[in-house]
């Protein structure tokens, strides 16, 4: 049964990882936690719902438009809200307060437009499962895990092997230094928001396919935040590690302690990490950001 719980934990952590990397990317550049990031996933999921159920688009096209929707709304929030706050020279706290406001606005807007009821995609896999070494894994879960892994590998490639990735890491280390060396900081930040929005969009669609779509589904972003703190705020590999670990810890607590204590353990872990190792498991210092 332990192996079964381990697989479940990795599956839960996979979705956290997609969102946690977005948190980390934005934190690495702007030093603030984008509390509305979970809502980008919700927007992406609803865009896919609109295109696949209200308009006659095939699900795959609708899903891609959903990812684009997450990216668009993420880019817009940076352009319209965060950049303006930054330009006034206000403290980072203002960015976080703005993000909290945006989170509520997105949730309320979704509630008004789509009502609170659950929505599901017309595309449905039959309930089927695969048995690996005595443990079961649902086909949808397996597909979801494979997509997550491919997306995260691609993300790591972008961050570590491309000029854009180098620019991002440069800004993360020293924004002013990077600017002096010719890096277009605002443009790069915009692109990071688009990238984070895409990741959130993928997370939203996979989460929606597994559990339906509803206005407050973005609250999962809180778990992604804990994951990124656990792994090390500002570190993409740390966020992935933290997410998978959190998924496994939550599953094991639910299975062997009590599901009622699962969130207690998650938040207690957050506090312990902040007290004992604030830089997270991968020990991110300023040079290692992103």
């Amino acid at each position: 049964m332990f192996f079964q719980q381990l697989i479940t934990g990795i599956s839960v952590g996979g979705i956290y990882a997609l969102l946690a990397t977005g948190y980390s990317l934005i934190y690495s550049l702007l030093d603030f936690s984008n509390w509305s990031h979970g809502e980008f996933a919700m927007v992406g999921a609803y865009v896919a719902i609109v295109f696949s159920t209200m308009l006659p688009f095939p699900f795959l096209v609708a899903a891609m438009l959903g990812v684009a929707g997450g990216a668009l709304v993420s880019w817009l929030t940076e352009k319209v809200v965060y950049r303006r706050i930054r330009s006034t020279g206000g403290p980072n706290m203002f960015l976080m307060i703005g993000a909290m406001g945006l989170s509520s606005v997105f949730q309320q807007a979704a509630n008004l437009i789509f009502t609170g009821q659950y929505r599901s995609y017309p595309f449905k896999l039959p309930v089927s499962t695969i048995k690996i070494a005595g443990a079961y894994i649902g086909v949808l879960d397996l597909i979801s895990l494979i997509i997550t892994a491919v997306v995260l590998i691609f993300l790591m490639y972008i961050i570590n092997k491309t000029q854009f990735g180098l620019n991002v890491r440069g800004i993360a280390c020293n924004q002013w230094g990077a600017k002096i060396l010719g890096v277009k900081v605002d443009s790069c930040i915009s692109k990071v928001f688009i990238l984070a929005g895409c990741l959130a969009g993928v997370a939203g669609i996979l989460y929606g396919a597994k559990y339906n779509v509803w206005p407050t589904m973005g609250n999962i972003g809180l778990k992604a935040f804990i994951s990124s703190v656990l792994g090390g705020l500002g570190s993409v590999p740390g966020a992935i590690l933290g997410a998978v670990l959190l998924g496994i810890i939550e599953t094991l607590v639910s299975a062997y302690v009590s599901s009622s204590l699962r969130d207690f353990f998650s938040f207690a872990l957050l506090i312990v990490i902040l007290l004992v190792k604030p830089s997270g498991l991968l020990g991110v210092d300023v040079q290692d950001k992103a």
Binding site: Y118, S120, K124, V127, I137, Y211, N219, T251, S259
Partner: protein, 417 residues
């Protein structure tokens, strides 16, 4: 600055003193004589009202009140209740009335609000001299209305108000004039536990409830008691939290015990469907069984075959031909968009009062109360009602539903024991 602060502080002090002055919590010794007079007046007034009601109960049409939400956010139910009562009265009058007297329904808007519902009931009793009243469907409204009914000595019958405090107070004392037409939340647990262990013959069961959800936990506790008392064994009890969407950690443990049946007491169709899909994905083939929280047209389709052959027990609703026919008549006559079960409750309320008046041989409110309380069996459209005189909580027949394809189908009646 200091001056402004002083002004503000003074204003706050004056307001505080004014508030204290207005407070009615004076020492008991001085309060007692002051409250005696109003109490005596209230008793006299209540006696006068009862006399007026008694006079009204002897001659002319028999007036039955109805309190419901006729204009608020849940007016769909309130108006359906009004229409159901009015159609029942029309049918009774066409068949000769009650002991030859015409029945008149007097509707009053309680707006689904406790204080408005109390006012509406008082108005029905004081101004309209009703001999009994039906409604509401909200426990929050009927709990304060029960005290008014006791004080005025006019029986009231709640429809779907399922909280225990509708008919008994916090100390467990009966509200003698308050009745209801629905079973209380935990009752369905008795029916489910008994049906699973008795009729279906299951020996081992898992219990899955939502932590902190009163309905889920109380129904679960009753199922456990009844199932074990009939020889079954609860091999594992697991819980989730209200917002959870992933149950695989708990399901893996349940699967390891391989129970005959899993009682899944959740109230949200999307979560139930996810639970069922995850159970089947983990290779669990046990029967899944639930309560009225499963009442949803979307559940079976959303579960994508994971609930095939599974059962739940709930209210009968429109599933008998008689109830469906009455619902259709209300819908057609009053131009409603859809059938609302509230019309069945109020229809049964009117007929239950008719049955009580005929058994008592009088339309006197106290005689009606006594007859309602001593009801051995009342056959209504929402099922057969067996009254418990100690609690006024009826035992009622329930309906069994089975999942086939994309829908749950009505399978039959599970009679009250």
């Amino acid at each position: 600055m200091k001056k402004s602060l002083a002004t503000i502080l003074s204003a706050v002090m004056i307001l505080s003193l004014a508030a204290c002055g207005g407070n009615s919590t004076a020492p008991a010794t001085t309060q007692a004589p002051a409250t005696e007079a109003p109490k005596a007046e209230a008793t006299e007034a209540a006696a006068a009202e009862t006399e007026a009601a008694a006079e009204a109960s002897d001659e002319g049409p028999i007036k039955i009140g109805y309190v419901g939400d006729l204009t608020g956010g849940t007016a769909l139910w309130g108006t359906a209740g009004q229409y159901g009562a009015e159609l029942a009265a029309k049918d009774i009058n066409e068949a000769g009335g009650i002991m030859g007297r015409e029945v008149v329904i007097v509707p009053m808007d309680g707006k689904g609000d406790p204080s408005d519902s109390v006012s509406a009931l008082k108005k029905l009793i004081d101004d309209e001299h009703v001999v009994a009243s039906i409604g509401t469907n909200f426990s929050s409204c009927n709990i304060p209305m029960a005290s008014v009914a006791d004080e005025k000595k006019i029986p009231i019958i709640a429809t779907a108000a399922s909280n225990e405090l509708v008919t008994v107070d916090e100390n467990g004392n009966l509200h003698p004039y308050s009745f209801r037409l629905c079973f209380i939340d935990p009752y369905i647990g008795e029916v489910i536990g008994s049906y699973a262990a008795g009729t279906l013959g299951y020996k081992t069961a898992a219990l899955f409830t939502v932590a902190g959800n009163t309905n889920s936990e109380s129904v679960g506790a009753i199922i456990e008691n009844v199932f074990t008392s009939k020889g079954g064994e609860i091999v594992i009890s697991e819980q989730c939290q209200e917002a959870d969407m992933d149950y695989r950690a708990q399901l893996a443990k349940i699967g390891a015990k391989n129970p005959d049946v899993i009682f899944v007491l959740m109230n949200d169709y999307a979560k139930l469907a996810t639970f069922a899909k995850q159970a089947r994905e983990l290779g669990i083939e046990s029967m899944l069984m639930g309560h009225d929280g499963w009442d949803s047209a979307q559940l079976a389709g959303e579960a994508g075959g994971a609930l095939e052959g599974c059962l739940y027990i709930s209210r009968i609703g429109f599933n008998t031909p008689e109830a469906a026919a009455f619902g259709d008549r209300v819908t057609e006559l009053y131009k409603m968009e859809s059938r609302e079960a509230e019309c069945l409750f109020t229809r049964d309320g009117v007929y239950w009062i008719k049955d009580a008046i005929e058994r008592a041989g009088s339309a006197d409110p106290t005689a009606i109360r006594d007859a309602l309380e001593s009801t051995e069996k009342f056959e209504g459209l929402i099922g057969t009602l067996v009254e418990d005189p100690a609690t006024h909580n009826p035992a009622m027949a329930c309906a069994l539903f089975e999942c086939h394809g994309d829908a749950f189908e009505y399978k039959g009646i599970v009679e009250a024991e």
